[in-house]
Symmetry: C2
Subunit: 147 residues, 2 copies
């Protein structure tokens, strides 16, 4: 784990904290390309009336818009909590190369059957490089502040 | 299969055809609630530079915005081709009650490993009522017109 990972995960945590103030579940993500933040996202499901506005999807959409591209080859996505299957597949089809996780769903006692990033990759045959355990306690604590 | 299913799938096919003219892969979806169309979507990945803008996600987002709700309990989603895992999970978490499919991914020789709506439901333990085979040949033919 490098300083870079911690600094970028702090930026994702900052998104999560802003989301909490706006009345959403505190979850945040950022997308990095060539060392630059090209997308920031936080869960906006409640405040924006959009069940698809999870942090990862919001960050990916912003990165695509910023770069005027429909894919994000070579990108790195940092997210405070392991993504749900919707967000995981968005990451897998976007061309993002590395997924960096804070807390795992299991750390939060959140279970969707046997789902995890790894089991979806196994089911579909699509994969991303996975880095885990970056500020995981802070990410879990932040999620637990949800109303 | 009722007249209703065919009429609604025709509306989804019309979205797919509009998308093709805009330079996208011809895939369309609609969301029905209480017999009314509350969301329409087509694949906008290329034209809008958004890797998450699949027909189902676009239709769900529009329905949520239209209804000013973050969930779509009791809704029915019609889609011209079996959704990818991203869209399938968006459907499963939205509270949509019934998913009506035109073509299956296998009809188009599109495979993501062992993924299907059924295998993702089995993996995650979340489910939706599934209706298949509505205008499937027309839906497959429309998809094959992609550039």
């Amino acid at each position: 784990m490098t300083t870079g990972h911690i600094g970028y995960m702090e930026a994702a945590l900052e998104e999560a904290r802003i989301g909490l103030k706006e009345g959403n579940i505190p979850l945040g993500s950022i997308v990095i390309l060539d060392g630059e933040i090209v997308g920031r996202g936080r869960n906006l499901v409640t405040s924006q009336h959009d069940v698809t506005a999870h942090a990862e999807v919001v960050a990916i959409r912003e990165a695509c818009a910023e770069l005027k591209k429909s894919e994000l080859s070579g990108g790195v996505l940092y997210t405070t909590v392991e993504p749900c299957p919707m967000c995981c597949w968005a990451i897998l089809i976007s061309g993002i190369e590395t997924l960096v996780l804070g807390a795992r769903l299991a750390d939060l006692q959140r279970y969707y059957g046997e789902y995890s990033v790894e089991t979806l990759m196994k089911l579909t045959g699509k994969s991303v490089e996975l880095v885990t355990g970056v500020l995981s306690a802070e990410c879990a604590d932040t999620w637990r502040q949800k109303k």
